[in-house]
């Protein structure tokens, strides 16, 4: 059941490089990451690739397979024909360190710019009471494995280096929404989402939602509601206060 597949893999360091051709064995049930590992073990021992869990849980193995952002460990070889040439390249939006490995520090920097969870001062650990329905919205966003493929695919920064300073990308706009919807968070996040993190740049193309391996509805459930909250807020600042009180009214 095994066959020889044709792979074209990006090789290179620090801004330079080219696609290299490989012919490599593929066995039943294998995923693209298995094939990259086979290349390392047999033909290219210094081929660089990130991975950890090999089960779609850690978000390390993001790459572009035939131009589409995918997790290497969750892309089965059976989704391609045996004749197809499979092209594997690093994520395009971030600088390449070597081969398939990118410098993703942009994301960690943006993460640090989002003010942390801010509970009321008078609740002590162990006293939190929240209904399942009230935590579910934020829980959806906390499924995020930080593969950064949504940030990679978003056109606002994909080919626009100049927007990176002002735009946190879907991953971290969603983090703001997550905190805004947390029943116990009391920080004011809506103005800052717009002014400090570039929510206004998003024109809801939904490309981020399409690539999310966790199937999080980033645009519909995080970005659009966040935009609506910002608009409501402009008309009526009291709405925000009302929302905050409402968030925990059921508990």
């Amino acid at each position: 059941m095994s066959y020889k597949a044709k792979f074209r893999v990006w090789r290179g360091e620090g801004g330079e490089g080219k696609l290299e051709d490989f012919t490599v064995e593929v066995n039943e049930g294998e995923v693209v990451l298995d094939i990259i590992h086979r290349l390392q073990a047999t033909q290219a021992p210094d081929l660089a690739v990130r991975w950890n869990c090999k089960a779609g849980k850690c978000g390390s193995c993001s790459m572009e397979i035939n131009g589409k952002p995918r997790l290497g460990c969750m892309t089965r070889m059976s989704t391609f024909t045996e004749e197809e040439v499979i092209t594997v390249t690093p994520m395009r939006t971030f600088p390449v360190i070597k081969d398939l490995v990118c410098d993703v520090s942009f994301n960690y920097q943006k993460a640090r710019e989002v003010p942390s969870f801010t509970p009321p001062k008078d609740v002590r650990p162990g006293e939190y009471r929240m209904k399942q329905v009230d935590v579910e919205r934020s829980q959806e966003f906390r499924k995020c494995i930080e593969c950064f493929m949504c940030n990679n695919v978003c056109h606002v920064i994909r080919d626009h280096e100049e927007n990176k300073a002002a735009f946190s990308g879907p991953r971290f706009l969603m983090r703001i929404a997550e905190l805004d919807m947390h029943p116990y968070d009391v920080a004011d996040r809506q103005v800052s989402a717009q002014e400090d993190h570039g929510l206004g740049y998003c024109n809801i193309t939904k490309c981020c939602t399409e690539v999310c391996p966790e199937h999080i509805k980033i645009t519909d459930n995080a970005l659009i509601p966040m935009k609506e909250r910002v608009v409501d807020r402009k008309y009526d600042p009291l709405v925000w206060l009302g929302n905050k009180i409402f968030k925990r009214s059921s508990s």
Binding site: D46, A48, N52, S116, K131, R142, K143
Partner: protein, 622 residues
């Protein structure tokens, strides 16, 4: 080439649950703290944990309390546990879980709005705080975000996010440095550039996780090369309980490339059952004598238990992991396995499809994507996989201090807490409880220091030579040596062991040690996985030698150590720990050491009839 230097109070090696909790504590104690890890921040192995964190909060069954949890933990470990650790763990776990909630974690809820708790093997009551089946992700993300919160505080006061706590991601430590007897720092390299780095620091907290990559079939990732175990040995510390390895009963068996990947125990906790090729729920045939009165003897009783725990006994699918793994092994050997060499794990006939998707979303996803199996309509095929090492650095229970002054350890790399077998869910809580304690221990040690130990240039030079050596050689490819080690450990020191096979494994290890001296890494220093593996091999071989030597000496079967030639548990052996050490790293010595006697008030928490099953007559006479 210049070696980069950094000064810290505490260097935490590892950014999983244990490392992050230790670093948070050290920083909260006002210590300048470095977190060093091999992967990106937020990707450590802890992220993979699924089922939950065990803590006797009593939210679902109010009869639960620390004493019940303590008893379950000791039973699960067959009474070989360090009882002081088991005590601290049971007492402090609830506070550690609640603290996560105050840092932003969102656990699943009970009807009255508290943290929900689920059933797991060996736990008497529903005890695991969880978020669906992605609890590890929640835990690591919360701790990661707590580190960021502290960095934001430091930015407010000092104008620098990294004034007190900094993450060195994709950086591997290869040696601990000492001044006389005491720790003075650590040496490593940046994976990204291959540049070398030295930390000057009076304390090191090891939180490097486990060793599973010495086995072929494992649920563990590439990070699990036993680095912390080896670093501790090489620095003069001792390892205990290395013969005890947990083979998780349910790993995926098909397709071959995902063999070993974990299927969470929550599948069984939430009602899933194990069947053989004849359709029989075989676990009823494998309830061991010591657990006879705690487990159901009929399917009817077992099924009633899910809704009425007060009047029924638990289903045998929820026996401790060592029992279930051995049972599956026996069924397969007896020819009653599934087509792909495992057994059937079925939840499709037990819960409605919607409920399965809600409670076990990542299992649903994992089987669909990787095996083309829809677990809401058909059974999974599963078999044992190397999952967790109970053994590790011998530490002081209260402070996490190892035998070397300035060295601390917490989490999977430490030993003692779980005895001969860990209960599911007890690791995540262990990370939090002992991570915090190790961070405190390191801080207190620094407060008591009169002079700061110094890094000697000679030790840096020899660490530098060792690290660069594979790049200068053109010998064998490290992947081949690695594969041979994995196969040998899997086949010869696996789930069922015999003296002859273990000795054979030791011979293989001796030969591989010679080959490792010659392996070469093609390519340069920039993000070169072949070079990284060549360096990891030293650690895997040292640790494998510990496992095999201790396994050969322990002539009994207990928890994660099953000897075909000594199939029974021997009360005399319970009193002995096997302690590994090395003088120069060329070989490992194992000696017996007496296990300290349990404190009277803890002893009195058990029924004497139960204790008799584990203790010698002499011990019962107190």
């Amino acid at each position: 080439m210049e070696i980069e230097r950094h000064d810290y109070d505490v260097v935490v090696i590892g950014a999983g649950g244990a490392g992050l909790r230790a670093a948070i504590e050290a920083r909260q104690q006002g210590k300048r703290t470095a977190i060093v890890c091999k992967s990106l921040f937020g990707k450590a192995h802890t992220v993979m944990a699924e089922g939950g964190a065990a803590a006797a909060m009593g939210n679902v069954n109010s009869d639960d309390n620390w004493m019940v949890h303590f008893r379950d933990t000791m039973r699960g470990g067959k009474f070989l546990n360090n009882w002081r650790m088991a005590e601290l763990h049971a007492k402090e776990a609830p506070d550690r879980v609640w603290e996560l909630e105050a840092w932003g974690a969102l656990f699943d809820r009970t009807k009255d709005g508290k943290i929900s708790q689920r059933n797991f093997g060996g736990h008497e009551y529903p005890r695991l705080a969880h978020v669906g089946d992605r609890t590890g992700l929640e835990l690591i993300r919360t701790l990661q975000q707590r580190v960021v919160a502290l960095q934001q505080e430091d930015y407010e006061t000092h104008g620098d996010y990294e004034a007190y706590i900094k993450v060195f991601a994709e950086c591997t430590v290869t040696r601990l440095l000492k001044d006389g007897d005491a720790i003075s720092g650590a040496f490593g390299y940046w994976r990204e550039t291959g540049n070398l780095i030295v930390f000057d620091a009076p304390t090191v907290v090891l939180a490097t996780g486990g060793i599973g990559k010495s086995y072929v079939v494992t649920s563990n990732s590439w990070e699990y090369t036993g680095d912390g175990h080896a670093l501790a040995l090489l620095a003069g510390a001792k390892l205990i309980n290395m013969e005890f390895i947990q083979f998780h009963p349910t790993g995926m068996v098909w397709p071959p490339s995902v063999r070993g990947i974990l299927v969470t125990e929550s599948v069984r906790g939430d009602g899933g059952v194990l069947r053989n090729s004849e359709g029989k729920r075989f676990m009823f045939d494998y309830i061991p004598e010591v657990f006879k009165d705690k487990y159901a003897t009929s399917e009817e009783e077992a099924d009633r238990w899910y809704t009425d725990q007060a009047n029924n006994r638990r289903p045998p699918e929820l026996l401790p992991r060592d029992e279930v793994a051995r049972a599956i092994n026996s069924e397969v050997k007896a020819g009653r396995g599934s087509p792909q060499g495992g057994v059937f794990l079925d939840v499709s006939t037990r819960l409605p499809a919607e409920e399965i998707k809600r409670r076990l979303p990542s299992m649903h996803h994992q089987f669909k994507e990787l095996a083309d199996v829809d677990i809401t309509t058909e059974p999974m095929q599963v078999g044992p996989t190397c999952h967790y090492i109970m053994g590790g650095v011998e530490v002081d229970a209260d402070t996490g201090a190892a035998a070397v002054p300035g060295l601390f350890a917490a989490g999977e790399v430490s030993g003692g807490m779980h005895g001969s077998n860990r209960l599911g869910g007890n690791s995540l809580s262990d990370l939090l409880v002992f991570g915090r304690r190790a961070g405190l221990g390191a801080s207190d040690y620094i407060n008591g220091l009169k002079v700061r130990p110094k890094v000697s240039e000679a030790s840096v030079e020899s660490a530098r030579k060792e690290a660069l050596a594979p790049l200068e050689r053109t010998g064998e490819n490290p992947y081949e040596v690695h594969q041979e080690l994995q196969r040998s450990m899997n086949d010869l020191v696996g789930i069922i062991r015999k003296a002859g096979e273990i000795s054979e494994a030791l011979e293989v290890i001796e030969k591989l040690k010679e080959r490792v001296q010659l392996v070469g890494a093609a390519g340069n220093r920039i993000y070169n996985p072949g070079w990284h593996l060549a360096l990891d091999l030293r650690n895997m071989l040292l640790v494998s030698e510990c496992v095999a030597k201790a396994a050969l000496l322990r002539e009994e079967s207990r928890g994660g150590h099953t000897r075909d030639d000594f199939p029974v548990m021997a009360a005399d052996w319970r009193r002995k720990l096997l302690v590994c050490s090395t003088t120069d790293g060329s070989g490992v010595t194992v000696v017996e050491q007496a296990q300290p006697e349990m404190r009277q008030d803890l002893f009195d928490l058990f029924d004497r009839g139960e204790l008799k099953k584990y203790l010698t007559e002499e011990e019962m006479d107190r």
